[in-house]
């Protein structure tokens, strides 16, 4: 109650909350975005990260549900975050913008991290969060591990490149200029969406998918609760395609965020490609 009043007072007066010198390592970090949640959990010192967002404990979207159980959960609301008295808030570039603006007005330091669109950007983001947390050494180690794992998984150049389609609810596809597209490419697949003229992705008409005759079909996992958006994945054309070519159900959690967890997705794809080889 008292703290709520303090929040209101601070809001009205625009008082800067206990401002921290930026050259000291932040000690009370709150993350309000699924992807910064995961990078922070990988890099933070014990006790440094106080809270992660509620999506971090949702197994449908988070690749680090178990780790996230150790932290307080926030809902990316300005009031609740401010009451945690953070000295650094990690947020996404495009989400919870109102909360970010208000926290900044209240004098809280907020860092916004853009979503990663390539494997290279995954490395950048690891380094960025590492710097913010003053955990540069851990970030370098994580990057080195990521590079090594990626090199081991990366498909040899010159091998056959089966053509795969990424096809999700609402007929959405992702092109090669996206993180998912880069994972696909790194695993040795050619992306049908890029051929069909969707470099970034978007809703691809079903008949273009059918006419493209992909060698593999990667679809999204069904969410609980019915939806007509996912109905397209049961369209007779998709079902027939799924029967005819190898397919994978991708687990969203490994694909959503630009973290080393994307290698999990890549590993599954690589295994699928290797299983396909005898058939070719």
């Amino acid at each position: 109650m008292r703290s709520a009043r303090a929040f209101l007072a601070a809001l009205c007066l625009g008082l800067p909350a206990a401002a921290q010198a930026q050259d000291a390592a932040p000690r009370r970090v709150v993350s309000i975005n699924l992807c910064t949640d995961q990078l922070a959990m990988m890099l933070a010192a014990p006790g440094q990260l106080r809270s992660v967002s509620m999506l971090a404990v949702d197994p449908r979207s988070s690749a680090m549900v178990d780790e996230a159980q150790a932290y307080d959960i926030n809902h990316a609301l300005a009031e609740e975050v401010w009451l945690m008295q953070p000295d650094l808030v990690l947020a996404g570039q495009y989400s919870s913008l109102a909360a970010v603006a208000m926290l900044r007005r209240l004098g809280v330091r907020v860092a916004q991290i853009a979503p990663a669109n390539s494997l290279e950007e995954v490395r950048d983001h690891i380094a960025e969060v590492g710097t913010l947390l003053h955990r540069e050494a851990e970030a370098e180690a994580l990057t080195a591990q990521f590079d090594a794992d990626l090199a081991a998984l990366r498909a040899p150049a010159g091998g056959p490149h089966p053509r795969a389609a990424l096809y999700y609810a609402n007929g959405y596809t992702t092109g090669d200029q996206t993180l998912a597209g880069q994972i696909l490419a790194a695993a040795g697949f050619a992306n049908v969406a890029a051929e069909a003229g969707f470099p970034y992705g978007g809703p691809m008409p079903l008949e273009l998918l059918a006419m493209a005759e992909p060698d593999a079909l990667i679809t999204s996992r069904a969410y609980p609760g019915g939806s007509r958006s996912e109905e397209i994945l049961e369209h007779p054309v998709v079902e027939r395609l799924r029967d005819a070519v190898p397919g994978a159900i991708m687990s969203d959690a490994d694909w959503i965020c630009g973290t080393p967890k994307v290698l999990g997705a890549m590993k599954k794809l690589t295994e699928m490609r290797e299983r396909m080889r005898p058939a070719q």
Partner: protein, 327 residues
């Protein structure tokens, strides 16, 4: 009426053919039609038979349904502003369909989808007919329609917002605007029987609607069973609109534009307008569905956007005219 059909039926046939050969995939018209009829290897026959054919059939069935239901509703309420989309019947059907999908009912039992949409539509038509029967004026009808529409869309949004599926919220657009993209023959078989039953019921209302031109009293004295007529109208409209909405969302304005344009052609006789409007509705929806593919091929443009762009100005014009007549 025969003259109208002589123009409308070839038009529907022509547009149906165009609907089959126009699509995002670059397929020659002859190859497309050959694959449709003769089949063959490769993905082409599949595309023609499982994507483009159902899309064309649904445009005809749903457009025809909306035209027919619009003409019947207008005839019964004796009001040219009565339209299934505008007065909330489609919206209520969408609510029923959304509930069927979100509760998992439709996944367990396929017919639950059209049946729930039908139930939603019955509720709306019943409410509207009771509130603004043949004696109610335009104002009562439109006010009742606004209330029913607002209620239905609010409840639809609520159901979708409560859904655990992250896609649900985005589906509001589909249910409000309608689309025929990537439907399958499954949807055709799901909707067609209800539409046939509804059309049969509505077709039998022609004589009664004609008699109602002279008012309820005169119609009653001419042997029209008004209660039976109302029942046929409510169930018939609910069947055709409910089934269409269940598979393609709520598509507005077709039932307004088509009867309005065709009324002078058939000499304004309500019975003659029924089937003429059905043919006109099929032509309009086929054309609108071709337009969404031609105008913005790389965007999933919703059908209701096109029909509203054509229909809303006409609606305003109609209100203007009604106002002039009352003044």
């Amino acid at each position: 009426m025969k003259k109208a059909f002589a123009v409308l039926l070839p038009l529907v046939a022509l547009l149906a053919l165009a609907s089959l050969v126009i699509g995002p995939a670059d397929i020659g018209p002859l190859a497309a039609l050959k694959a449709l009829v003769a089949g063959g290897d490769g993905p082409l026959p599949l595309v023609m038979r499982e994507i483009r054919l159902p899309r064309m059939l649904l445009a005809i069935l749903i457009g025809g349904s909306l035209g027919l239901a619009g003409a019947a509703m207008q005839g019964y309420l004796r009001n040219p502003l009565a339209e299934p989309g505008l007065i909330g019947i489609s919206g209520s059907a969408a609510l029923g369909a959304v509930i069927a999908i979100q509760t998992g009912l439709s996944a367990a039992f396929a017919l639950a989808l059209p049946l729930m949409a039908l139930a939603g539509a019955v509720g709306a038509v019943l409410l509207l007919v009771l509130l603004a029967g043949p004696r109610g004026g335009s104002l009562t009808l439109i006010l009742a329609g606004i209330a029913v529409s607002a209620m239905a869309s609010a409840l639809t949004s609520l159901v979708l917002n409560l859904s655990p599926s992250p896609y649900a919220a985005g589906e509001i657009v589909f249910w409000m605007m309608g689309s025929l993209a990537d439907r399958s023959m499954v949807h055709v078989w799901l909707a067609a029987p209800f539409m046939a039953a509804g059309a049969l019921l509505l077709a039998r209302t022609g004589r009664g609607l004609d008699a109602l031109t002279l008012g309820e009293d005169a119609a009653g004295a001419m042997g029209v069973h008004l209660t039976r007529l109302r029942l046929a109208l409510v169930l018939g409209t609910a069947c055709v609109v409910g089934a269409g909405t269940a598979v393609a969302g709520a598509i507005g304005f077709v039932g307004l534009v088509v009867p309005h344009l065709l009324r002078p052609v058939v000499g304004a006789r309500p019975s003659a307008l029924l089937w003429t409007s059905a043919a006109g509705g099929a032509a309009l929806l086929l054309a609108a569905d071709i337009a969404v593919r031609v105008v913005m091929p790389d965007r999933d443009l919703k059908l209701g956007v096109v029909t509203a762009l054509v229909g809303a100005p006409l609606f305003l014009h109609l209100i203007w005219k009604t106002r002039g007549e009352q003044a």
